[in-house]
């Protein structure tokens, strides 16, 4: 009998279905390790540049931390203990103004050149010379030349000698840094990926700064991605750049001449996979060893086979509501702009009772459970867990207390707020559901107090949200901060110093706080610093310039054959330190 084509197709289909149903059952417990010598990360977004003095995004940092090495780095999971990497010894002078590093001998760059103390001096001078406006170089300027400085004095370039005199090679392989004033987190700053040591000879060969004034003028604050070493790398690290296929993947190969034992992985591939389902399937299939999983998708991954999850890792981040003390007259979020029930005056949040009324209306339990799905804790101070000078014993927490909120609203503006009511729109960036929920919680609770209170929430497209925040158009804004280094200063300055990143945009100016922030960073006495940061936490509580919403916690998802991962918030890569990791059962 001749089979009709559709019958043949039908039989094939049945066979496929049966095989598919049987096959998974036949699998052994542990499937073979895919690509055993390659670590594959399925990430989102790619590096912006591979120049350590220009890169300031974590995707660039991910690559740079594998290729370049700093003088010192954080020890294991600690953020307050360090181990020597390219420095085998270091000391800090008693006055905290001079940092000395002895440079390790016998280390070679990927091109074979030997590491010298001159390379170290050159690396930092070059960063100061380049001083690209979007770069992390401010972190070097702050301790080496004083807070708020950069390569310009007014419109003029600072003399080259000002920059080059901050770091010098001294006798017998030692390099010294001379600080403008004591700055305890300096050691953390040079541990960042912007502190990766470069090869002087190679840099000059490739058209970078050659030490002259002329070259300084030509290379200072270059146009984005126009710097000579945007795409080239030559570090001392455990991996060498193989290729960078932009928007597709970065490939690195093992450095077999590494000064320590060569890494276990022969190759590292960091892929850009923006679509979540694809990343998820890749991880499940073992086509990647780590995948970025957004918090909202944590539940989907529960009980997934062959996946190892590291849970509740304390991310060193803080999300907050910031009240705008001096709203721009251009704001469309303030209704009539008067305290007449149809709007708010531009100095609405300058009244402490308004700020406290808002704060007591916020419900952290609902927010962390619903919007954060339980992945977060309420911070007591901008100095969150994981930072030096974090104090777990502080009790400067607000709690949701509607009675106290009512009391403060009744006192605000001499009782006018309560009598006349107000209308206000809270903005959040569209697509950010966590921020949306925070706005809604606040709005609902405030509106429930008094029928004359009318608070609503409205989404704004992200670039517009950002621009309006900086133009002081938003009456209050919600935003987070991730650390540059792990000292209280990085957060407290941002929140409480008049020139601090967020404080500046909310026009918050508390002289006492500003003074204490400056006093604390210039102190070399840890006890004094601790006391000052605790006092600042109290000031934040009393003055209530904003609401400290949450310090998020996070999970990391690996294929179960990946070994050796540990969490250190200083690692740019969410998958940790690959040099210390391997693939095995």
């Amino acid at each position: 009998m001749k089979l009709k084509p559709w019958r043949i197709l039908g039989i094939i289909a049945v066979v496929i279905v049966i095989t598919a149903l049987i096959l998974p059952g036949c699998q052994t417990d542990k499937p073979p390790i895919k690509n055993p010598d390659t670590f594959i990360a399925a990430s989102i977004g790619g590096p912006e540049t591979l120049d350590p003095a220009a890169a300031y995004d974590s995707a660039s940092g991910e690559v740079l931390q594998l290729v370049y090495e700093p003088l010192v780095y954080y020890k294991g999971e600690k953020t307050d203990e360090y181990e020597g990497i390219l420095a085998d010894e270091w000391e800090v002078s008693r006055d905290g103004m001079t940092y000395r590093f002895h440079i390790r001998e016998g280390v070679t760059f990927h091109n074979g050149n030997e590491l010298t103390p001159e390379d170290v001096e050159y690396t930092f001078e070059r960063a100061l010379v380049q001083d690209y406006v979007g770069a992390p170089t401010w972190m070097l300027y702050e301790p080496l030349l004083g807070i708020g400085t950069n390569s310009h004095v007014g419109d003029d370039l600072r003399p080259l000698s000002d920059l080059t005199s901050t770091v010098e090679v001294v006798e017998d392989g030692w390099v010294e840094f001379y600080l403008a004033s004591p700055y305890e987190p300096f050691i953390q700053i040079i541990a960042g990926f912007w502190g990766g040591i470069m090869d002087k000879e190679w840099c000059i060969e490739n058209g970078d700064w050659d030490g002259t004034q002329q070259s300084y003028e030509a290379l200072n604050n270059p146009a984005a991605n126009a710097w000579p070493l945007d795409l080239l790398t030559n570090g001392t690290g455990p991996f060498k750049l193989d290729y960078w296929d932009k928007a597709v993947e970065v490939s690195l190969v093992r450095n077999d001449n590494y000064w320590r034992e060569p890494a276990s992985f022969e190759r590292v591939l960091i892929k850009d996979v923006p679509e979540w389902t694809t990343r998820k399937l890749m991880l499940q299939n073992g086509d990647c060893d780590w995948a970025y999983v957004p918090t909202l998708n944590y539940l989907e991954m529960e009980g997934a086979e062959g996946i190892k999850v590291y849970e509740d890792l304390p991310l060193v981040q803080c999300e907050g509501f910031f009240f705008n003390f001096d709203i721009s007259p251009d704001s469309q979020f303030v209704g009539s702009g008067q305290l007449d029930g149809n709007g708010i005056p531009l100095d609405f949040f300058a009244d402490i009772d308004v700020r406290k009324g808002f704060t007591y209306c916020f419900d952290w339990e609902a927010y962390i459970d619903d919007a954060m799905m339980g992945y977060g804790i309420q911070p007591a101070s901008p100095v969150v867990k994981g930072l030096a000078y974090y104090n777990p014993d502080l009790d400067t927490y607000y709690e949701n207390d509607m009675a106290k909120a009512e009391q403060h609203f009744k006192a605000a503006f001499g009782g006018e707020v309560w009598d006349k009511g107000f209308t206000l729109t809270l903005a959040y960036n569209s697509g950010n559901d966590t921020r949306k929920v925070a706005c809604e919680i606040l709005a609902d609770n405030i509106n429930s107090l008094n029928p004359k209170f009318n608070v609503t929430a409205a989404p704004q497209e992200w670039t517009s949200y950002g621009a309006q925040m900086y133009a002081r158009i938003l009456p209050c804004f919600q935003i987070g901060w991730i650390p540059d280094f792990f000292d209280a200063h990085n957060f407290i300055y941002t929140w409480m110093h008049e020139g601090g990143y967020w404080a500046y945009y909310q026009s918050y100016n508390n002289q006492e706080a500003t003074d204490k922030v400056e006093q604390a960073i210039a102190s070399i006495d840890p006890d004094e610093r601790q006391a000052l940061y605790d006092e600042l936490a109290q000031i934040h509580y009393d003055d209530c310039p904003g609401i400290l919403l949450v310090q998020p916690t996070g999970n990391r998802f690996f294929k179960d054959w990946v070994k050796g991962y540990f969490f250190n918030p200083a690692d740019s890569a969410n998958y940790g330190q690959l040099y210390k990791m391997s693939k095995e059962y």
């Binding site: 598919a20 590096p47 406006v133 932009k246 928007a247 591939l269 389902t277 497209e461 621009a467 990143y501």
Partner: protein, 348 residues
């Protein structure tokens, strides 16, 4: 001579059309207020202190016509701006992502056209029979399937369930490393073609394996479209007098349908096919995004959700020009092959 003058006339007409395209695209850009357009030049929040300076530097508050000509001048010098999302110039990005999409179009278009024509013919020839009903129902279902849903289902089945059978992306890890190695020359950046040219069959095989699902996704939706068009065109042809004549002459039904009816019915389908190819080359946004297949569509998706305006504009310009050119080619082919199309001369 007629055809030549027609060609020249059409080419001259291109100039105002392209001019119109640029004005439209530039007009779109004006929907964003100056400070938002300025945000595109901001790479670091600290620069936001100087937003006015940025507006001034890039002339964002100058009169519209002045901004337009500045922009046009840039376009003519080949500078379409910087694509922030992928970290390269927009021109580079177009050339970088085009081959992947071209590869997809080269495989998908013939399948869609031949499949659509074949199904449409069958359906019309067996009008109201089971074949017709099934293929029409299939067409409605295929046409109605949301691409993102269908793509995800395919991915879940053929990559998730049948572990790794047809993977996403353009190449597997080990093959990608081969392609990027010094021994492999990327002549065209079309992976399967480069594989053949380098005599590296693992690359060819791997490239084909990765292209299967995106091609199926595209085909199922678009075959339905061509099939319906072909069916109605075919039915019209079949009702014509010359078909009756052919049948009366006693020609076999196969010849009547394939030679007499189908050839004439194919003209509208060929017109649409030109656009179809252009549309696929212009980037099949959803298909490419789902399969992490990095072509123009993937890039367009990333730039759109990141409001990378210079890229969006560059992409829109590329699409516009491509469509205008495709339109021209289709019209010319029409004039060449369909004697009924008058070339503007007087009827002799």
């Amino acid at each position: 001579m007629e055809f030549r003058s027609y060609l020249i006339r059409r080419l001259l007409l291109l100039i105002p059309v392209l001019f119109g395209v640029t004005i439209l695209i530039f007009g779109l850009l004006q929907l964003f207020p100056a400070y938002q357009r300025a945000m595109l030049y901001v790479t670091d929040p600290r620069q936001l202190n100087n937003i006015d300076e940025i507006i001034q530097m890039y002339g964002l508050n100058e009169p519209l016509w002045k901004q337009y000509f500045t922009w046009l001048g840039q376009v003519f010098s080949g500078n379409l701006g910087w694509s922030k999302v992928v970290g390269m110039s927009v021109t580079d990005a177009i050339f970088n992502f085009l081959p992947a999409t071209l590869e997809l179009a080269i495989f998908a278009t013939p399948i869609i056209i031949i499949g659509g024509i074949w199904l449409g013919t069958k359906s019309a020839a067996h009008k109201d029979g089971p074949v017709d009903h099934i293929s029409r129902a299939g067409a409605i279902v295929g046409w109605s399937l949301p691409t993102f849903w269908f793509g995800l289902v395919l991915l879940m089945i053929f990559y998730g369930y049948f572990t790794g059978l047809f993977p996403p992306e353009r190449l597997s890890t080990d093959i990608s490393v081969i392609v990027h190695s010094g021994e492999f020359t990327r002549y065209t950046k079309l992976n399967f073609l480069d594989g053949i040219l380098n005599w590296e069959w693992s690359v060819v095989f791997d490239a084909l394996r990765h292209i299967v699902l995106p091609v199926i996704t595209l085909s199922v939706v678009n075959i339905a479209f061509i099939m319906r068009l072909m069916r109605s065109s075919m039915l019209e042809s079949l009702g014509r007098g010359y078909i009756l004549t052919a049948r009366a002459k006693g020609l076999p039904e196969k010849t009547v349908i394939n030679k007499h009816a189908r050839r004439n019915a194919m003209i509208p389908v060929l017109t649409v096919s030109g656009y179809l190819f252009a549309a696929i080359v212009n980037g099949v946004v959803i298909t490419e995004s789902i399969f992490n297949y990095k072509g123009l569509g993937w890039w367009a998706w990333r730039t759109a959700i990141n409001l990378d305006v210079s890229s969006i504009l560059g992409f829109a310009l590329f699409s516009g020009v491509l469509f205008v050119l495709t339109n021209l080619v289709v019209d010319l082919l029409y004039a060449k092959f369909d004697p009924r199309v008058r070339l503007g001369g007087s009827i002799k």
